[in-house]
C-alpha cells in the first residue's frame, strides 16, 4: 500500500467515523424503528390525557338518570354533550362539578330553527316559542317527548300563538277569553270557541275604574266608541303597545 492510499484511508476513516458518531448522537433513538419517524413520538401522543370520559363512565354513579336517558329520544346525545367534559369530575367527583345548563340558550343550539338543518329534525323558533320561559320548565332533557297534536291551541293556531307570545297579552291563557268545548278538538268547525261578546269583558282590565296594574292602558267605556265591541278595532292577540 502506497503512502497516498494509506493517508486517504485515514482521512476517509475519520470522516465516516465522525459522520456515524454524529448520527449516533443526533438521530433520535427510536427514529426509523417503525418508519421514517421517531417511534417514541407515537407513545408521546398516545399518553395525552383524555378530558372526555365517555358515556360509559357516568352510569356507575348516575345509574337512574342514565337509564331514563337511554330509554328516550336523546339516547344518541351523550351526557357530555350538555354537561361538558367529565374526566376531571370522575377523578374528583366532589371537587369538580359539571355544568348543568338550565338557561334557554342551550337547547336552540340544536333545536333552534335553521333551514340548513336536515328536514324533519325537531326545531322551534326561539324568538316566538314561549319566549322568556326556560326550556326545562316544559321539556325534560333526559326524557324528551315529541309534541303531541293537538296538545294545545298552538298546535293548530300556531300563527296566533306566536303572535300572542310576543304581545303584551302573552301571559293570558287562550281560555281567558275563549270558551272552548272539548268537542272543538275533535270536530273543530262544528264546535267553535266563543269570543268576548261585551265591551265590559275587556273593561275588567282596561276600563278607567278597573283594579288592574297601573301600566295597563285604560279608557272610559262610556265615552270611547260605544258602537263597537273592543276586538272589532283592537286585535287582542297583538294589541298596540301604546
Amino acid at each position: 500500500m502506497n503512502q497516498q492510499t494509506s493517508r486517504l484511508l485515514v482521512v476517509f476513516g475519520v470522516m465516516i467515523g465522525a459522520l456515524l458518531t454524529a448520527r449516533h448522537f443526533l438521530v433520535p433513538k427510536t427514529f426509523g424503528k417503525l418508519g421514517h419517524y421517531r417511534a417514541a413520538a407515537v407513545d408521546v401522543v398516545a399518553a395525552n390525557k383524555a378530558k372526555y370520559a365517555g358515556k360509559e363512565a357516568c352510569a356507575p354513579c348516575h345509574d337512574e338518570i342514565v337509564q331514563t336517558h337511554d330509554t328516550h329520544r336523546h339516547i344518541s346525545v351523550t351526557c357530555e354533550v350538555c354537561h361538558g367534559a367529565a374526566a376531571a369530575h370522575i377523578d374528583a367527583p366532589t371537587e369538580v362539578k359539571l355544568r348543568a345548563p338550565r338557561e334557554r340558550g342551550q337547547c336552540p343550539l340544536c333545536h333552534g330553527y335553521n333551514p340548513s338543518r336536515p328536514t324533519g329534525f325537531p326545531q322551534i323558533d326561539p324568538a316566538t316559542h314561549n319566549p322568556a320561559k326556560a326550556c326545562i320548565s316544559c321539556h325534560n332533557p333526559h326524557a324528551p317527548e315529541p309534541p303531541r297534536t293537538p296538545e294545545a291551541c298552538s298546535a293548530c293556531h300556531g300563527g296566533i300563538a306566536r303572535e300572542k307570545a310576543v304581545s303584551p297579552h302573552a301571559s293570558l291563557e287562550c281560555t281567558e277569553c275563549h270558551q272552548v268545548d272539548k268537542q272543538h278538538k275533535v270536530t273543530p268547525r262544528l264546535s267553535t270557541p266563543t269570543k268576548p261578546a261585551s265591551r265590559e269583558f275587556c273593561g275588567r282590565c282596561h276600563a278607567t275604574g278597573a283594579k288592574s296594574a297601573p301600566g295597563i292602558p285604560k279608557v272610559d267605556l262610556a265615552t270611547h266608541e260605544e258602537r263597537y265591541v273592543c276586538w272589532q278595532c283592537h286585535y287582542p292577540h297583538s294589541p298596540e303597545l301604546k
Binding site: 500500500m1 502506497n2 492510499t5 486517504l8 484511508l9 476517509f12 476513516g13 465516516i16 467515523g17 456515524l20 449516533h24 433520535p28 433513538k29 427510536t30 427514529f31 424503528k33 417503525l34 418508519g35 421514517h36 419517524y37 421517531r38 417511534a39 417514541a40 413520538a41 407515537v42 407513545d43 408521546v44 401522543v45 398516545a46 399518553a47 395525552n48 390525557k49 383524555a50 378530558k51 372526555y52 365517555g54 358515556k55 336523546h74 344518541s76 346525545v77 351523550t78 357530555e80 354533550v81 361538558g84 367534559a85 336552540p108 343550539l109 340544536c110 333552534g112 330553527y113 335553521n114 333551514p115 340548513s116 338543518r117 336536515p118 329534525f121
Partner: protein, 266 residues
C-alpha cells in the same frame, strides 16, 4: 488479464474498485458496533412499551364516516375537539370544524364556517337559496398523505394503525405540510410554532374510546371505527351508504368517508 497488469505495476494498486474493496471491510465492524448498540436499546424500549399497554397498532386501521344529512350544525364536535386537545381558542385554529354550504339558484355556492361552527350557525335568511346543508370537516387521515411526503425531517408520519400524527418535539415549523394539505386540515400552533392537526384523538382510540367529536355528536353524523374489524359501525356505514371521499382525484386515499355527498362539496 487484470492479474498480469497487477504484476506489471505492483507499487500502484489504485483504481476505485481496488480501493473500495480494501476500504469497505474496515468499516463493517464499526457500523456493526454502532448498530448493535442501537438495536439493543430499541429492543429494551419496545419491551417497556409492551409492558405499559397490550395494544397492537398493526392490528388496526382507523377511519371515520361522516353523514352530512344528519349534521345539524350545532358545533359540539368542534368545541369538544378544542377542549379535548387543548386547541387554542382563537377562531382560526381548528382540528375539526363544520362548513355550511348554501347553493344559490344562480349556481353560486357560498361556504361559511363562523368560528368553525362553535356556537351554531345563524339561520339562512337570504332568498334564492336552492339548498343548504352542513358538512363536518377534519383531517382525512390519508392513506397516501401529501403532508408526510413533504416533511423534510420526518416529524409527521403515518402510524401503523393508519393515523397521521405530528411529532411536535421534532417539528421544525417550516409549514411545508400546511401548504401541502389539500384539505386545509393543518395549522401552526401559535405558542409552540409547530404544525398541529387532528390525531383522531389518538390518545383515546388506543384505549378503546372514540374520538371526542364522535363522542359528543348528538345525531351520530360521525361514525368512527376500524377498517380491519368487519363488525364495526364504520364498516356497516360503508356497506349501507354510497360513500365518497373528498378530492378523490388527488389520489390521497382519504380515510374519512362521506355518505351521499353533495356534488358542490369540495
Amino acid at each position: 488479464m487484470r492479474d498480469s497488469e497487477m504484476r506489471l505495476e505492483p507499487s500502484e494498486p489504485t483504481g476505485r474498485r481496488a480501493f473500495l474493496s480494501k476500504a469497505l471491510p474496515a468499516f463493517v465492524p464499526l457500523v456493526a458496533l454502532l448498530q448493535s448498540g442501537r438495536s439493543e436499546q430499541s429492543q429494551k424500549e419496545a419491551a417497556k412499551q409492551g409492558e405499559t399497554r397490550s395494544y397492537r397498532a398493526s392490528q388496526h386501521d382507523y377511519a371515520m364516516g361522516v353523514d352530512p344529512s344528519r349534521c345539524i350544525g350545532c358545533g359540539q364536535c368542534a368545541e369538544a375537539c378544542k377542549t379535548e386537545n387543548d386547541v387554542p381558542e382563537e377562531p382560526f385554529y381548528f382540528r375539526t370544524w363544520i362548513e355550511r354550504y348554501s347553493v344559490h339558484s344562480d349556481r353560486e355556492t357560498v361556504v361559511s364556517s363562523p368560528n368553525g361552527g362553535i356556537g351554531g350557525f345563524p339561520a339562512v335568511t337570504e332568498r334564492g337559496v336552492l339548498r343548504t346543508f352542513f358538512v363536518p370537516k377534519l383531517c382525512n387521515q390519508c392513506a397516501n398523505p401529501p403532508c408526510v411526503q413533504v416533511c423534510p425531517v420526518g416529524a409527521t408520519f403515518k402510524t401503523q394503525d393508519g393515523v397521521v400524527l405530528v411529532d411536535s418535539s421534532y417539528c421544525i415549523g417550516c409549514r411545508y405540510c400546511i401548504q401541502a394539505c389539500p384539505y386545509g386540515a393543518r395549522f401552526m400552533h401559535p405558542v409552540t410554532h409547530t404544525a398541529e392537526k387532528c390525531t383522531f384523538c389518538y390518545h383515546r382510540i388506543v384505549k378503546g374510546h372514540v374520538p371526542a367529536c364522535v363522542e359528543v355528536c348528538p345525531t351520530q353524523a360521525r361514525i368512527f371505527g376500524d377498517l380491519k374489524e368487519r363488525a364495526s359501525p364504520l364498516m356497516r356505514f360503508r356497506r349501507q351508504n354510497a360513500v365518497q371521499v373528498l378530492k378523490a382525484d388527488l389520489n390521497t386515499e382519504p380515510k374519512v368517508y362521506y355518505a351521499n355527498l353533495d356534488g358542490e362539496v369540495r
